[in-house]
């Protein structure tokens, strides 16, 4: 058994004597004996770190999908981007990793200023003036956006494009059970949202993904017109890397931007911890969920940072708070600020451009194969959907045997009855990042051709 307790047995005895009990068990004398656990926890005995290391390494060894074994062409909101040693080293500094929420600003300027820089970058990418200090992930950021729209309009009807990631829509449906929101999922036709059948009256939010989860560049102007005509908010769910070169959510008239911030410095991590990006228009700032850092002065007149507009938050406003979020994903926000600092203006543009170049090159090569067709005809950015001659799950399994994670089989992503695409079992979603070389892409094409023959 190992632990991290500093006390010697003599110290424990002296402390117990000072407290006035004669044993550690005696500290719990007032806990009703009827509920006290007899015989201890039913867990294996503890072990030292070196012994535990072997156990833990076993788990990793049973992950065939680790990067050393598979070249990643999977995306669907989680992307294999370059994270350099310098970003890992800086974001991994223990001052950031082992700090609590910055409730005492006088000794938390490091985290507070890093969040302020993060907020600035997210706001610029969104083309909106305000960003918060982070939410759990893209999916829960969407839920907060819907709650904000309800607060802004007093309405509960949410029009959500089926181009929004299927998991995000699933999360929105889950939380709507509590808020009572009506989540209307608007179908895609050939990869683009078909808004024609929806009744805009009484709408709180219109949500469009840009690009959408199939990689398609939709026209957010249609969604804006719909939201505007009904007095609802336009929520744009965006890929933050694409946001480096595409027109911003704000320029399309968005009131809220939400996104998944994982591409900014966070490893694939089997899905978490990731980073919920959230930015909004000035008019919505009092309804902002979670923490926001503001610039101010200290009593000596020096620039200082502090969490502000605190009267919105759960610890003060309790049942009337704008959100229940308390712990967020600050370390991922700090990481994103550092990663963006490393990329810089030119680097982000370069990464976004190379993703698009790689994706279009792979798309062009794959669609020459007999048995591969574009699943939709709409223009895409860095990810695309293909309809295959064989079930996509089978193809993924076969390419994995050749050291390639071919993409994501859509029927593994979509709930039954999803209105984004027909017959998803035949559709493969493929993403390319700036890390994929031409040799890797060419090999993917060769192996795919062989598998489909």
């Amino acid at each position: 058994m190992a632990d991290y307790l500093p006390h010697t047995p003599e110290e424990v005895a002296a402390m117990l004597a000072f407290v006035g009990v004669d044993s550690l068990e005696g500290l719990y004398a007032h806990v009703p004996s009827a509920v006290r656990l007899a015989g201890g926890l039913d867990l294996p005995a503890g072990m030292t770190e070196p012994d535990a290391a072997a156990v833990v390494a076993g788990y990793g060894a049973r992950n065939a999908a680790r990067a050393s074994e598979l070249v990643c062409f999977a995306g669907a909101g989680a992307y294999d981007h370059e994270v350099p040693p310098v970003v890992r080293a800086l974001a991994g500094r223990s001052e950031f990793v082992t700090a609590y929420t910055p409730y005492q600003p006088e000794v938390a300027q490091g985290v507070l200023q890093a969040i302020f820089e993060y907020q600035t970058l997210v706001a610029r990418l969104a083309g909106l003036p305000i960003a918060n200090a982070s939410l759990y992930d893209g999916a829960t950021a969407l839920v907060e956006a819907l709650n904000m729209a309800h607060g802004a309009t007093g309405r509960s009807r949410m029009l959500v494009s089926s181009g929004v990631h299927p998991h995000w829509r699933a999360v929105a449906r889950t939380f709507a059970a509590g808020t009572g929101h009506e989540v209307v999922e608007v179908p895609l036709v050939d990869g683009r949202t078909d808004w024609s059948g929806v009744e805009p009256a009484g709408v709180a939010a219109v949500v469009v993904a840009y690009p959408n989860y199939l990689g398609v560049l939709e026209d957010p102007a249609e969604a804006k017109a719909l939201a505007g005509s009904a007095g609802g908010l336009l929520v744009v769910a965006g890929d933050p890397v694409a946001a480096g070169v595409l027109r911003s959510a704000g320029s399309w008239g968005a009131d809220v931007f939400v996104g998944e911030g994982q591409p900014f410095g966070t490893a694939l991590s089997f899905g978490g911890p990731y980073l919920g990006l959230f930015a909004c228009a000035e008019a919505q700032v009092r309804r902002l969920p979670g923490r926001i850092v503001g610039e101010t002065l200290d009593t000596e007149g020096r620039r200082a940072y502090v969490t502000t507009l605190r009267a919105r938050e759960q610890d003060i406003r309790r049942e009337k708070a704008t959100s229940n979020v308390c712990t967020n994903q600050t370390l991922m926000a700090v990481t994103a600020a550092v990663q963006l600092g490393w990329l810089g203006t030119r680097g982000l543009r370069e990464v976004a451009t190379r993703c698009a170049q790689g994706a279009h090159y792979l798309f062009d090569e794959l669609t020459r194969i007999d048995g591969v067709a574009p699943a939709v005809t709409a223009p895409f950015f860095r990810e695309f959907a293909l309809r295959l001659r064989r079930p996509a799950r089978e193809v993924v399994a076969r390419l994995a045997e050749e050291g390639i994670l071919a993409g994501v089989a859509l029927d593994a992503l979509c709930a039954p009855g999803d209105r984004s695409i027909d017959a998803p079992e035949g559709v493969l979603l493929v993403a390319v990042t700036e890390r994929r070389t031409r040799a890797e892409i060419d090999r993917y094409v060769r192996v795919m051709r062989g598998v489909l023959q």
Partner: protein, 501 residues
């Protein structure tokens, strides 16, 4: 007990006092740090690949810095930040214990960290095994049947638990309206209740700082969906009538929810399931030592009793033959996270449990409790406890005497502690205690560190008598002095681009 203090972080020399410009202020046009792989992918212009109507007129301005500038900037920022690694963090209700580096190393292993979340189960057996192993251990620790690992933090766990409560009642055709919360509860509880579609009914504490059982009976009824309780509660006191409380709520058909914020106090001693709780959320970033990251990520798994298993979020990793598979419970409330939860936080917590084992976890709780009680008694003359009897892992003390005598408030004591090289305790919470200072020393602080903290508080109390004005101006030796919060709220400057007043 040695009288010579140790464990003081010595804030002045150890923290950076020079202001650090922002990333944007150190930016120089044309400077770069990034380096990318050479890919040989055809470099077609973006305008050929994307319809021009979608392209921005100009690239988004980030910053233009060299790698060396970036390292200096971020390192200097880190020097302006207090952390557990630097010193004691006795924040009540936050369980800021030392985070073993071993667990960080586990999470950094590329065999875990480089795995794509949508990779098929056959290729991610190790990850599914981690999830099953962790779920089984958390259930053993809490006395529950099954758990979801998806919630990303404690508040997310609370809301998940309330949606489970709702689904359970609705499955029985039972419409319920209210959830009961003690007046000592964390603010996340009532906020989560609202998002769960329920109304909050507050039940008062009695003069012993515990739920007033008679008052509880008075507000119970057939429209009560359940009660949310923290045990030990936020005063650090064990709810001694928990069996009666649970029975009374069950009597009216309600469910009993355990807020696991204070689970650290009772590991291996008493289990929520044995106390009658139906739903339990845990804060892995508290009890199981995953680092808090300056405000997250955390992880808030929710464990449930047998009658609620069918409603758990899905998909869940389950055992299937000799391996593992994803499965969604029959009447699942659905997903509560974009993927599988904060997986790397889950892996850290599992590593922590592996190292400690049954006995180690029990000692964690016992040492947390002895530390809190030692501190409570040691400080009794200056900051008497709100309820002066045996506490659990934290103690709620009061600065009322200092306020009455010298006008020195809990906030002043907290700020002065920052000058003394300690992080402050939680102040003005719980709301029902006047001038509250809530100390949670945790089990990983030594008796020497506790003594150093006590001596620092003694110095502050002496100073209160002679220099109360000085205490109102504290802290002076920290990276910045007391911060003007009102100014920040009056004119919001949330980005470097915002207009200055």
């Amino acid at each position: 007990m040695t009288a010579s203090p140790a464990g003081r972080a010595s804030s002045a020399p150890l923290m950076g006092r020079d202001a650090e410009p922002t990333l944007f202020e150190i930016s120089v046009p044309g400077r770069t740090a990034f380096q990318l792989r050479t890919t040989e992918v055809p470099a077609r212009p973006l305008e050929e690949l994307v319809p021009p109507a979608h392209l921005a007129e100009a690239p988004v301005a980030i910053a233009e810095v060299s790698e060396r500038d970036l390292v200096a900037h971020v390192t200097r920022l880190s020097h302006r930040q207090y952390s557990v690694d630097l010193g004691m963090y006795p924040l009540g209700s936050c369980t800021m214990k030392y985070n073993p580096k071993f667990c960080d190393a586990v999470a950094a292993d590329p065999a875990l960290a480089s795995v794509h979340p949508a990779a098929p189960a056959a290729l991610t057996q190790g990850w599914l095994e981690i999830m099953v192993d962790l779920e089984e251990r958390l259930c053993a620790i809490t006395g529950m049947t099954a758990a979801t690992l998806q919630p990303a933090a404690g508040a997310a766990g609370e809301l998940t638990g309330l949606l489970l409560m709702r689904a359970y009642h609705e499955s029985r055709g039972d419409v319920r309206r209210r959830v009961i919360i003690p007046d000592s509860a964390h603010g996340t509880n009532p906020a989560s209740v609202t998002l769960g579609g329920y109304e909050v009914t507050t039940v008062p504490s009695n003069d012993r700082g515990l739920v007033d059982l008679e008052a509880l009976r008075g507000v119970l009824g057939p429209d009560v969906a359940g009660i949310m309780l923290t045990n030990p509660n936020t005063l650090g006191l064990f709810e001694e009538q928990i069996v009666e409380i649970a029975a009374a709520v069950h009597e009216v058909g309600g469910l009993v929810y355990y807020d696991g914020a204070n689970l650290n106090a009772i590991l291996g001693v008493v289990r929520p399931g044995d106390m009658g709780f139906d739903i339990v959320h845990m804060n892995l970033h508290k009890t199981f030592a995953t680092p808090h990251g300056g405000g997250g990520p955390g992880a808030g798994p929710v464990a449930v009793a047998a009658h609620l298993v069918d409603f758990l979020p899905g998909p869940r990793a389950v055992r299937e033959g000799t391996g593992f598979e994803w499965a969604t419970p029959a009447r699942s409330i659905g997903r509560v996270h974009g993927w599988h939860g904060n997986a790397l936080v889950l892996a850290r917590a599992l590593a922590y449990i592996h190292v400690h084992g049954a006995e180690g976890l029990t000692r964690v709780a016992q040492h947390a409790v002895v530390n809190a009680n030692w501190l409570r008694r040691r400080l009794a003359a200056i900051l008497p406890a709100a309820h002066d009897r045996m506490c659990m892992h934290e103690c709620t003390l009061r600065a009322t005497a200092l306020k009455d005598a010298y006008g020195v408030r809990a906030l002043d004591v907290a700020k002065a502690l920052l000058e003394e090289g300690f992080h402050a305790p939680t102040v003005y919470f719980p709301l029902i205690v006047d001038e509250a200072l809530m100390f949670e020393p945790t089990e990983t602080e030594s008796p020497q560190t506790l003594e150093a903290l006590a001596q620092a508080i003694e110095r502050i109390a002496l100073r209160a008598a002679t220099d109360p004005e000085g205490l109102h101006r504290a802290p002076q030796t920290t990276p910045v002095a007391r911060v003007d919060e009102a100014r920040a709220a009056r004119h919001l400057i949330a980005t470097a681009d915002a207009a200055r007043p």
